[in-house]
C-alpha cells in the first residue's frame, strides 16, 4: 500500500470531476423530500384513523403500522419494481429513470408513513386526556377536535421522534438502489469503488462525510425545534 503522494492526491481529487457526486446526493435529497411528503400525509391519515371512534379504521391503521414496521425496506423496494411495476404494470412515467425514481419514492413513503404514525402516537401520549374531553364537551366533532386540538399538540410533542424518522428516511433513501435508482449515492459509491479500488477508503469517506454534513444539521434543528415548539402546560 502506498502512502499519500501528490499524484495520488490529485488522482483522488479528480474523482470529484469524473463523477457527479453532488448530483448523486441531490438524488437522495429529492427522494427523501418526496417520500417525506407522502409519509407525512399518509402518517397523519393513519394516526387519525388510529384514534378514531370507528374500530375498523383503528384496526386497519394498527395493522398497516405493524406490517410496514416489521417489513425490511429492501423487500418493499424490490416489490415496487418487480411487483408493482413488473407484474401489476403500474408505471409513473415512460422514462425509465423517472419511473424508478417515483416507484422508489412511493416505496419509501408508504414504509416511512408507519414510522411517522408511531412518532405522532408518541406525541399524542404527551397530551393530557382532558384536552380531548374538553373539546368533545364543547360539541366539537371528532375531526374538529383532532385537527384543532389533538394533532397540533401531537405534532409539537413529536418533533424529536419525527426528526429521527426523517434522518432514518434520508439514510434509507440509499436503499432506492434496490429499486434500480442508479444515480443515487450508494450506487455511485459502488461504481466508483469498482473503477478506483485504490481509493476505496477515500471514496467511503466522501460519502460518509457527505451524509454527516446532511444529517447533523437535521439533528441540531430537531433538538432546537423540539424545545422551541414544546407545548407549555
Amino acid at each position: 500500500m502506498t502512502g499519500f503522494s501528490s499524484t495520488n492526491l490529485s488522482e483522488f481529487f479528480s474523482l470529484f470531476t469524473e463523477y457527479d457526486i453532488l448530483g448523486a446526493f441531490w438524488v437522495n435529497i429529492r427522494l427523501t423530500f418526496w417520500s417525506a411528503v407522502i409519509a407525512t400525509v399518509l402518517g397523519i391519515v393513519l394516526i387519525i384513523m388510529r384514534i378514531s371512534p370507528i374500530s375498523s379504521l383503528r384496526g386497519f391503521a394498527a395493522g398497516y403500522c405493524e406490517f410496514f414496521k416489521n417489513m425490511p425496506l429492501t423487500i418493499i423496494m424490490v416489490f415496487m419494481v418487480l411487483g408493482v411495476f413488473g407484474q401489476l404494470k403500474i408505471s409513473f412515467s415512460d422514462t425509465f429513470t423517472i419511473n424508478f425514481f417515483w416507484l422508489a419514492v412511493t416505496g419509501l413513503g408508504v414504509y416511512t408513513a408507519a414510522f411517522v404514525c408511531e412518532s405522532l402516537r408518541s406525541g399524542i401520549n404527551t397530551i393530557p386526556v382532558g384536552q380531548a374531553e374538553a373539546s368533545r364537551a364543547l360539541g366539537l366533532s371528532f375531526m374538529q377536535s383532532a385537527t384543532q386540538i389533538i394533532l397540533p399538540q401531537a405534532i409539537r410533542g413529536a418533533v424529536a421522534p419525527l426528526g429521527n424518522t426523517l434522518i432514518a428516511l434520508l439514510k434509507n433513501s440509499t436503499v432506492a438502489a434496490a429499486a434500480s435508482v442508479a444515480t443515487e449515492t450508494s450506487s455511485l459509491m459502488s461504481t466508483m469503488i469498482e473503477f478506483h479500488s485504490e481509493h476505496i477508503i477515500g471514496i467511503f469517506l466522501i460519502f460518509a462525510v457527505g451524509y454527516l454534513i446532511l444529517i447533523i444539521p437535521i439533528g441540531l434543528l430537531t433538538t432546537y425545534l423540539s424545545n422551541r415548539l414544546a407545548v407549555r402546560r
Binding site: 384536552q131 364543547l138 360539541g139 407545548v231
Partner: protein
C-alpha cells in the same frame, strides 16, 4: 376501617331527587354503571329543574364525578336513561355533539386548549360548532372574559395564567356556547387556596343570574350558601337529598353524619 363497615351495610332505600319537578332540565333515571366488577353508579335517580343549583357532595370514590360526567356522556352508562331538556342523551355522532354543545362543562384540571390563546379558547367552539363569524365570536368572548375578569389576558397562552384565572377562562369558554346547564366537576380542587374564592365568586354570580348548575365540590361554604338542593353520594348511591339546611343541620344517614363530622370539625 369505617368505610368497610359502612360498605357492608345495605341501604335498600334509593333516594329519588327532585321527584316533584315537572319538565326537568336534567333527568337521570335508573342509571347504572360498572367499571369491571366495581359497581360505581347504583340506581341513580335525579331531576334538576331550570335555574336550580344542585351541589353533589360525598367522599372520594363515591361516584359523584362519574355521575357528573355521564350527563354529557364523557362516561357511558350501562343502563338507565339520561334526558336533557326532555331529550334522551344520544349515544354518539353528530346528535351527541349537538347535545354536548348545550351542556357546559368545567373540569377540575381546567383543560384549556394548550395550543390556543385565551381568546381562541373561548371563540373556537362558537366558530366551529355554531358557525359564528370570527368578529361576533371575538366580541362575545371579550364580553365573557370581562365578566369573569380576565379580559386583559386575552392574548396570552393558558400556561401563562394562574390556576384561578385559567378556571375562570374555562367557565367563560363553556358560557360562550350558551349552554342550558353547566356541569362543574370539582372546579376548585386543583387550585391554590388563595384562588378558590375567585372561582367560587364567579360560580355564585352565575347561579344568581339563573344558570342551571350541577356542581360536584368539596366547598361546603359554597354548598350551604348557593345550592338549592344538596345531594349526598357514597359508594355509588345517592343516600340523601334535600335543602342545605336540612342536610347540614339534620343529616339522616350515618354515612352523611360521619362525612360531615370529618369535614366540619376543623
Amino acid at each position: 376501617m369505617a368505610t368497610e363497615i359502612l360498605n357492608s351495610v345495605h341501604i335498600h332505600r334509593s333516594v329519588h331527587v327532585g321527584d316533584n319537578i315537572e319538565n326537568p332540565l336534567v333527568e337521570l333515571s335508573h342509571v347504572e354503571k360498572h367499571y369491571g366488577d366495581l359497581h360505581v353508579l347504583k340506581n341513580i335517580n335525579l331531576k334538576v329543574g331550570k335555574g336550580q343549583v344542585m351541589v353533589v357532595l360525598g367522599p372520594s370514590g363515591s361516584g359523584k364525578s362519574t355521575m357528573c360526567r355521564t350527563i354529557n356522556r364523557l362516561e357511558t352508562i350501562d343502563s338507565g336513561v339520561i334526558r336533557i331538556d326532555g331529550e334522551v342523551l344520544p349515544a354518539e355522532g353528530r346528535d351527541l355533539a349537538n347535545l354536548r354543545a348545550e351542556v357546559g362543562m368545567v373540569f377540575q384540571q381546567f383543560n384549556l386548549f394548550a395550543n390556543k390563546t385565551i381568546l381562541q379558547n373561548v371563540t373556537l367552539a362558537p366558530m366551529r360548532v355554531r358557525h359564528m363569524s370570527k368578529r361576533d365570536a371575538e366580541d362575545e368572548a371579550m364580553e365573557l372574559l370581562a365578566r369573569v375578569g380576565v379580559d386583559s389576558q386575552a392574548q396570552k397562552m393558558p400556561s401563562q395564567l394562574s390556576g384561578g384565572q385559567q378556571q375562570r377562562v374555562a367557565i367563560a369558554r363553556a358560557l360562550a356556547m350558551h349552554p342550558k346547564v353547566m356541569l362543574f366537576d370539582e372546579p376548585t380542587s386543583a387550585l391554590d387556596p388563595e384562588m378558590v374564592n375567585e372561582v367560587l365568586d364567579t360560580m355564585t354570580q352565575l347561579a344568581h343570574e339563573g344558570m342551571t348548575m350541577i356542581c360536584v365540590t368539596h366547598e361546603m361554604g359554597f354548598a350551604r350558601q348557593v345550592a338549592d338542593n344538596i345531594v349526598f353520594m357514597a359508594d355509588g348511591k345517592i343516600l340523601e337529598a334535600g335543602s342545605p339546611e336540612q342536610f347540614f343541620e339534620n343529616p339522616q344517614t350515618d354515612r352523611a353524619k360521619d362525612f360531615l363530622s370529618k369535614i366540619l370539625k376543623h
